[in-house]
């Protein structure tokens, strides 16, 4: 893994104030990991992000990007920012144009891309956030959650190497939140470094490999989430909470004399660990592309009439909208959970997610449950 960002004793104070929002902060962000940044309001998360993108220049300490100190000249910053996209918590702060498609095109046009490429990226990004029907609508007519999706589309259209998402699911409905996490996973698999800050501890616990905890302008902890959550006093002091599934696992294991490790992080892992599952249901996994999804669906479902179906990933979801899919959202966990309870299902997914499917099956095996998984 390569180092993407490194902060060395970084201190930042907003002009005209005295509080050090970042106070000798040290942090390394590695490429290719799923990173979460957690902390209470005012802990310095947003300031950290602005520091990473060069918007704020620290008074002390150094920010390194790919091993080089950030160059705060105009050209240097432009260079840095062509790699990094940021989704702000409040979408209204990053909406520049009046029409949806114009707004999403704003970033790519600034990159100097040609019209066709811009158009291609805009339509793909809008589709990924399910806002295609709103392309020609004025932004003021959209709800808060819809504007958030437009802001996300704008960041996706930049094809960044580093994606910083500040509260990406706040204000989104549950299905849209799941889609955003799916997108984050897709970016991760494409090699983009994804950094998510959120207050939704339960959602992020399912996804992140590394959690960095901010407190009082410093990094209180950085590593796998469990190492932090196992110390309730510190969690509490940092103004955070432990994920409910982490708590339940701890309590049940204490009462029943079981080992807390492996830690379940979602429903299929929890029920596999505590439900004494017997025979696995058959889980047929079908990797597809947007163009091939409909055809594959026909082909696979011929022999599997009446079996429950799920989609994971925006390409297959889009291609199979009219196919009467049973689980259109959160389908990976739904289908694996069905396997745990002995029910058959078929999961169609964008082929890029193959490693994620394998990872899920491996995790269940570690818990002691072998999924009857068939990849076709």
């Amino acid at each position: 893994m390569s180092e993407i960002f490194r902060l060395e004793d970084v201190t930042f104070t907003h002009p005209g104030t005295t509080r050090k929002v970042l106070n000798k902060m040290n942090l390394t962000i590695e490429g290719g990991s799923r990173d979460a940044v957690l902390g209470m309001n005012g802990a310095g998360k947003t300031t950290l992000f602005y520091t990473l993108t060069g918007v704020y220049k620290p008074q002390e300490g150094t920010v390194y990007n790919h091993g080089e100190p950030v160059d705060y000249t105009r050209a240097g910053l432009q260079n840095l920012r062509s790699d990094v996209a940021v989704i702000l918590q409040n979408p209204d702060e990053q909406i520049f144009c009046s029409l949806v498609e114009e707004d999403v095109a704003f970033g790519p046009l600034n990159l100097g891309l040609d019209r066709d490429e811009v158009e291609r990226r805009v339509s793909k990004a809008l589709r990924d956030v399910r806002m295609t029907p709103y392309a020609r609508r004025p932004l003021q007519q959209l709800s808060g959650g819809q504007r958030k999706r437009v802001a996300i589309a704008g960041a996706l259209a930049m094809n960044p190497k580093i994606m910083i998402m500040d509260e990406p699911t706040a204000g989104l409905d549950p299905q849209a939140s799941m889609e955003v996490m799916e997108l984050a996973e897709k970016l991760h698999l494409q090699g983009v470094t994804v950094l998510i800050s959120t207050h939704d501890i339960d959602i992020i616990y399912k996804w992140a490999d590394t959690s960095s905890i901010l407190y009082n302008g410093k990094i209180e902890y950085s590593g796998p989430a469990e190492g932090f959550y196992s110390d309730p006093e510190t969690v509490y002091r940092c103004g955070l909470l432990t994920p409910s599934i982490f708590n339940m696992n701890r309590d049940i294991c204490a009462i029943d004399g079981m080992d807390v490790d492996p830690y379940p992080r979602n429903c299929c892992e929890f029920t596999a660990k505590f439900g004494n599952p017997k025979e696995s249901g058959r889980l047929v996994c079908v990797a597809a592309e947007e163009e091939t999804a409909a055809e594959r669906y026909e082909e696979v479902m011929k022999d599997l009439k009446g079996v429950q179906t799920g989609v994971y990933g925006s390409d297959v979801r889009y291609a199979l909208t009219d196919n009467g899919i049973d689980f259109r959202f959160d389908a990976m966990d739904m289908c694996f959970t069905d396997a745990v309870r002995g029910k058959d299902s078929v999961l169609f997914y964008d082929s890029i997610y193959t490693p994620t499917i394998k990872e899920q099956a491996d995790k269940l095996r570690k818990i002691g449950f072998d999924v009857d998984l068939e990849v076709i």
């Binding site: 902390g39 309001n41 409905d173 505590f274 004494n276 599952p277 049973d326 689980f327």
Partner: protein
């Protein structure tokens, strides 16, 4: 129960050519209940609230308050709004004055209350949201979360009979989210009807008595949460997902580990329902019912409760706590934190507003009543 607020076949659109945001919306809100309103982005939750509060007028159909259709006469509207308060999602949409205390006093002043009464309400409301020290602070200087608390204080100062909260926890860190939920529970305990729109499926599931689901400008479901979540097709159509504990409980029931009912709604309930050993020693939950003037320190000494993990819950308990110099471990989410300590075999102490007692022991009672374990509840 009496119907307090009602939407009767409402249609509404923002402009004549635009889509109908409300399209035959009918819904009843019962007095004294906790009602969660859910629906996907753009389903019309915020629009519905502005209609219920007479900020907008429906194109057709009626809004009824205490069975009477709204008249939209200025005088009636002012009176109605003193009873039906909205806490908007974005606090910046509802701050009217430059200083904190002025902003909180704004509503009561409009109600033409006597000066002393306004002063008392401002003081109490700011205490309830933990913003007393900021009385004289300019609102400009406050953070988002602090502004949210000030607007909540403004709503409290109106002493409404209905409070409508639009995404009250969005953008708040977990600690503040629990503080807001505690205030909502406090209001409910004192007889206020609480309506909450939220996208947090797990939060609303653990909180709500009643669920209303909006879809396509209509109310597609009204009733208790479980029947709705048992119909997965409708859940999906509405843009929602299953609450985590609901999905876990159903899967475990399918695997023959326990029955579907009783439905656990909180993590401690789910954990104890799942654990095999029902006879293991759990801790004792000591609950100190504290009025404002209760000497907590003396009680803790008399009953030898010092040194145990201690939480606080509810307004009078917080006031009593302030008067003493007692250390508390859990300043927020007291009931669940103390119950969790009991699950881990530790005794704990919860200093609790007597009005909030039932809410504080919900999880412990659930566990005890269904034989999932035994938490001794010792009321001091």
């Amino acid at each position: 129960m009496a119907t307090l607020l009602e939407a009767d076949n409402i249609t509404f659109s923002y402009d004549k050519k635009g889509p109908k945001v409300m399209d035959g919306m009918s819904m009843k809100i019962e007095e004294g209940k906790k009602t969660a309103i859910m629906g996907c982005n753009g389903a019309g939750k915020s629009t519905l609230f502005s209609l219920l509060n007479a900020l907008r007028k429906p194109d057709s159909g009626k809004v009824l308050f205490r069975d009477k259709p709204l008249t939209y006469r200025h005088k009636d509207i002012i009176k109605m709004r003193s009873e039906v308060s909205i806490l908007f999602q974005n606090p910046n949409d509802m701050m009217f004055k430059p200083y904190v205390e002025q902003d909180v006093a704004f509503g009561p002043e409009n109600m033409k209350l006597p000066k002393e009464e306004i002063e008392e309400r401002v003081q109490e409301s700011l205490f309830a949201v933990g913003m007393e020290e900021y009385r004289k602070t300019p609102i400009m200087k406050l953070s988002y979360g602090q502004r949210k608390r000030v607007t909540l204080a403004g709503v409290l100062a109106m002493r409404p009979s209905v409070i409508i909260m639009d995404e009250p926890t969005a953008g708040l860190d977990p600690q503040m989210a629990y503080e807001v939920m505690e205030i909502a529970e406090q209001m409910h305990s004192s007889g206020v009807t609480v309506i909450m729109a939220s996208h947090d499926t797990d939060l609303t599931y653990s909180w709500a008595d009643e669920l209303r689901v909006l879809y396509g400008g209509k109310c597609m479901y009204a009733g208790e949460p479980e029947p709705f979540y048992s119909d997965f097709e409708s859940v999906q159509k509405a843009g929602l997902l299953l609450p985590t504990v609901f999905m876990m409980n159903r899967t475990l029931a399918d695997l023959g580990k326990g029955s579907l009912e009783p439905y656990p709604r909180a993590q401690s309930q789910m954990a104890l329902k799942t654990a095999q050993h029902k006879d293991v020693d759990l801790g004792v939950l000591h609950v100190i019912k504290a009025e404002r003037d209760t000497d907590i320190k003396a009680i803790i000494d008399d009953y030898q409760l010092g040194g145990m993990p201690t939480g606080v819950y509810g307004m009078s308990a917080r006031m009593a706590l302030r008067a003493t110099s007692t250390d508390v471990d859990f300043l927020y989410n007291g009931p669940e934190n103390c119950t969790m300590k009991c699950l881990n075999g530790q005794d704990s102490v919860l200093i609790c507003d007597p009005l909030m007692f039932d809410k504080a022991v919900t999880s412990a009672m659930f566990i005890n009543e269904h034989g999932f374990g035994k938490i001794n509840i010792d009321v001091v």
